[in-house]
Every structure is written in C-alpha cells, then in structure tokens.
Symmetry: C2
C-alpha cells in the first residue's frame, strides 16, 4: 500500500504523497509517486500513482513517450480536456495491466494501480480525477474536495474536519502533511519521504514542491506541535459526571 | 461494518462499541454489540461482536443457554482461564458459521463474525482477546493495549497517540469515544448510539456503563470541544518558509 491525495480548492490544488513501496515486508524501498508534466505554458498535469509499481512506472513512461511522438497522436500536450486526460491515463493503465495478463493470472500477482490526476488546461477550470484500476474515473466536488488513493482511512478524519473549498492552499498543504503523518504512524506500508506540491489556479506552473525527509526540522516541528496540540485538545474534553 | 474496541490498562478495561447494523444501505438498524456476563461474584466477561448479526446473536444465545445447563458442561461460570473462554467462544462462532455452510455457500452470504472478549476470573489478571472468524485469538500487550474489530482504521491514530498502559480508565474511555466519533464521521457503516463500559481490575463488576445517544448533551459537548481543540491545534502548526 501507499497513500496519496489531492485537495481541490477554489485557489488551486494541493498534492501529497508518501514514498514507500513494498513487495512484501522483506522488500521495502522508496520511490517518488508524484509525477509532474509541465511541457507547455498553457497546461500542467500532476499524476500520483499507487499500486503495482511496474504498472505506475510503465504508465508514466508511456505518457512521456507519447509526448515525444511527432505524428499528431494523442498526448498530454494536445489533449483538450482534463477528463480526456483522465480517460487517456485510464486506457494506458488498462493496456499495461493487460499486457501479460495470462502470465500474471498464473502467478497470482496483482498488476492493479490507481491514480490521481490533477491540473489545468488553459480555458478550463482546474480539476482533479481519481482514476480506478479499471480505467474509469471520478472528479471531486465542493462537498468532497479531496481525493485519496491507497491507505486512505487513517488520514481521512482530519481532512473531513478541516478541508473546505475556500481553505487556503498553505493550510490545505499542512493538513495533507498531518493526514500523511497520522497514516504513517499507524501503518507500516506508508513511509517517508513525503512530497507536497501546490498548483495555483490559472498559473500553469508548479508553485511549490517540497520533499519532507523524516528528520527535516520543519516536518519534526509539525509532528511535535500536532502531537502537543492533540494532547491539549484531549485534556480539554469534558469529564464524565462521575469524575471529580 | 461496525466498530468496537477494548483498551486494557493497568487499572482495568474500557470497552466501546457503536450500534449500527446494515444488510445493505437499504436495511439499516441499531443493535447493541456489547454483551455483559456477570453471573457470579468471582468473574466478569464482556463480549463485543461485529460481522454477521445472525452469527453474533447465535453465539450470545448459546453462551446464555450453556450457563443454564446443570449437567456440568463447559460454560462461562465454570471456565478457569480467560484464554479458555476465548477458545470456547471461537468454537461456538465456528460452529454457528458452519451450521448452514452449504446453503450459505450457494447464496454468497458471509456468516463471519469477529469478537473482543475482555474480563477477569478471580486469581488471574484481567485480560482482553480478539477472536477471529476462524476461531483463533490473540491478546493485547503493553505496547499494544487496545484491540479493535470492524472499521478499525479511522479511529486508530488517536489511540496510537493517547493510550498507554498507565492511562487512567476515564481518560481511556474519553479516547475511545473520540475514536468512535471520528470513525462515525468518516464512515456511514458506524453509527450511534455509542456504548461505553468500564471494568476496574479485581472488582468483578461493571463499574460504569453508559449509552451515548447522538444528541446527548455530554456527547455533543465532547464532539464540540474536540472539533475546537483540533482546529486550534491545526492553527498552531508551523508555517512554511514561504508564508509571511
């Protein structure tokens, strides 16, 4: 497992991902799960992927190769709508998963991958999509501004309580970091470094991108203050009527 | 799904459960998932059950019926160890699940149930057990004092941060309430009323038992203060270096 999320706000989009990959507990490694495509100045795409690492890497490779084709075939530079991009990535994912399906079925390996695609194409609003292993996809909504893939449950309560469409991008990025931190503490399959990216609407560029190592002073400070804040909040809870 | 947990502390045991049952989204109901057995003054057992409601109810019925037998057969009154009680309940659960396994296999229905058993028998320490659908069981440990069944992930981070073996029973009960509240907000399959029970060690009686309806003033106050406390904790987090 892994954990990635996007938060679509009025002001832009926040992306966050962990970096742990595992093929069993004796084969743990770190790979970035955040892939940025900023090739022309009228569009930006950020892709987060979890699941089979072979599938997610192959999809990214195919997206890159398609960008280098000069025969006018579909790629991220000539695509017209964000939902078309989601559809295109879903198709690539299914194509990769089906490539060796006979061998895979024999081995019992799971080739599935899930993606979050976010970004903007000039003339259209900024959007985020959750692309399922089956290639279909959904977008976010004002009452559900965030999308999650992978180990989604541990870090959902804090998002449910904090995130609104008018939350500013920096607060949303902080909330994503807390959501990832809570998940990482409760589940070994999610691990550092954590990546955060911010894209402001109508800018078509990566506003911010940071990589938080587990011992980075900023991340340690976030963890310490959050722990202290939670303990303080807990200590302020009302007493039962049988307590003095 | 549902969500129940136990917290084994130096001073005693806290139990908590939601009450939602569902056989599909069009068949939602409320049943207590907490069953107390205090029949003699040298022992107490509390059983929490999630999964197939037919299975959990049948297991409770069989436990009660066995208590009424006068032929000296095994029951909760004559059992000598908590782990024997866990084994006995695991056996009853497997027996119930297997009763109609041929019909169930045809219908595709899932008869599985998971249980938490906690309590104490005089002369032995207080203990908690997680009994799996397969009938096997594990107990808690000082570095993992809580056991969870059902929808366990949403409410785990707060337990991970607050619960230690020397936490007092009232704080642990408050933490269980917050853990249930967080789960209930993020997952429709967990719902009110919430039940809390406290058993202090070496007392062999139910010290406290409360049922929190969703609109009970105490529970509303816990929810409000926790939300405020979380927002305050969030607002105290450090700023990114690019923020003023």
């Amino acid at each position: 497992m892994s954990y990635c999320l996007s938060i679509k706000l009025d002001a832009g989009i926040v992306f966050a991902s962990d970096s742990r990959t595992s093929a069993g507990v004796d084969n743990i490694s770190s790979y970035s799960k955040m892939h940025t495509f900023v090739t022309t100045n009228d569009r930006i795409f950020i892709l987060l992927g979890v699941g089979n690492l072979g599938t997610t890497q192959a999809v990214v490779n195919l997206l890159q190769r398609d960008l280098e084709q000069t025969n006018g075939s579909l790629n991220l530079n000539n695509i017209n709508y964000m939902f078309d991009a989601a559809h295109y990535i879903g198709e690539l994912s299914c194509r990769v998963q089906n490539m060796r399906c006979d061998v895979m079925a024999q081995s019992g390996a799971n080739m599935e991958a899930s993606f979050i695609l976010g970004g903007q194409i000039a003339g259209h609003p900024h959007e985020t999509y959750h692309i399922y292993p089956e290639g279909n996809y959904i977008t976010s909504s004002p009452i559900h501004p965030f999308l999650q893939i992978g180990e989604t449950k541990y870090g959902k309560p804090i998002l449910d309580r904090i995130i609104k469409p008018d939350t500013n991008v920096n607060d949303a990025a902080r909330c994503a970091l807390v959501s990832l931190d809570s998940t990482m503490r409760s589940n070994l399959s999610v691990g550092p470094p954590l990546e955060l990216a911010i894209v402001k609407k109508d800018t078509f560029k990566l506003e911010r991108h940071i990589v938080c190592e587990v011992d980075s002073p900023f991340f340690v400070e976030v963890q310490n203050r959050w722990r202290e804040g939670l303990v303080n909040a807990f200590n302020e809870l009302p007493r039962f009527d049988w307590e003095e």
